[in-house]
Symmetry: C2
Subunit: 192 residues, 2 copies
């Protein structure tokens, strides 16, 4: 199991995504998929651990935290951890940051209802697993911090997986779970 | 359904518990149940919504947030919301604040394993429901904020329910779930 997976499981990691004029990831494009977009910016910096403040060059800043799994069963966890790899692989020069907000209808569902839509109907875990280990992923929660989004998902992959990544997103966006997504922004990046 | 239950479901409410020299709740006693205690203090203030700062009189401060349910099924939710009442009932002059930290062994369990221990083995929801509507309860999460605890549970009840409350705690503390509790402090209060 990758070290950052173990660390994410063992203690929440606070992560801040800062869009501005410079940073290790060049922002190639920002598309509003559902609802309002985010402001244009040239580059993104990902800060782990502390809570940095905005400066004059900051276009926007999104904060979230890794946490314990909320839907994944032991069998699914075993299968995922056997296949997945960590962030920061040298060949992973592409990245995507996808902030999402789900509707109040989603959040008022009970745990068993959310799990039913998330996996039995939408196969969210199963679909994601098909793209491992090529497309690495780290989920950050942010609904409990307030703000405009509920989740910030960060993906990293090699340029050869560009079309696989498009397919992954298309399949998830066609799933019943996406009926509960009321805002989604798709930010694509290349390692500078 | 009580208004504060609906509000808690619809959007996370940030809550800060401030122990100090004065406040609307008199602290009657602070007992360490498992692990280290908290410092003695005379009174407690509960602040909803914003993030107050400590002042010279502050003995300790604990922050958490209400959130969506993590284990409760639709059937259980329906049954709970039919019986439970909100905080702030005039007759509820007794309160308890019980901060808890669970072990790494708990947090590395998958969702289905935690649910199995929490309800199938320990009947956490079922036991709590037996004491409704007398003993009102609001759960605050704080593991994802860092700090020393994972949960802060706040209870309110009338003096006539004192012994029922002791029984509720005793039954939960004897359950298999409590094998995963590595710190628990029991703070008892009376409305000043």
């Amino acid at each position: 199991m990758p070290v950052d997976t173990i660390r994410a499981m063992l203690s929440p990691l606070h992560v801040t995504f800062i869009a501005g004029t410079s940073g290790p990831w060049r922002i190639d494009r920002i598309n509003a998929v559902i609802g309002e977009s985010l402001a244009a910016a040239d580059a993104l910096t990902v800060i782990e651990g502390n809570d940095p403040a905005a400066d004059a060059g900051t276009a926007w800043m999104l904060r979230g935290f890794t946490s314990n799994t909320r839907y994944t069963t032991r069998l699914e966890t075993a299968s995922l951890t056997a296949r997945q790899q960590g962030l920061g692989r040298p060949a992973s020069t592409r990245a995507a940051l996808i902030p999402i907000r789900k509707s109040e209808a989603w959040w008022t569902l009970a745990q068993d209802e959310r799990r039913e839509i998330f996996e039995a109907q939408s196969k969210h875990i199963e679909i994601g697993q098909e793209y491992l280990p090529g497309i690495a992923r780290r989920l950050h929660h942010c609904r409990d911090l307030g703000g405009d989004f509920d989740f910030l998902t960060w993906f990293e992959f090699a340029p050869g997986d560009d079309s696989a990544f498009e397919m992954l997103l298309e399949r998830l966006r066609q799933s019943p779970e996406w009926n509960y997504v009321e805002r989604e922004v798709d930010i694509r990046l290349t390692r500078a």
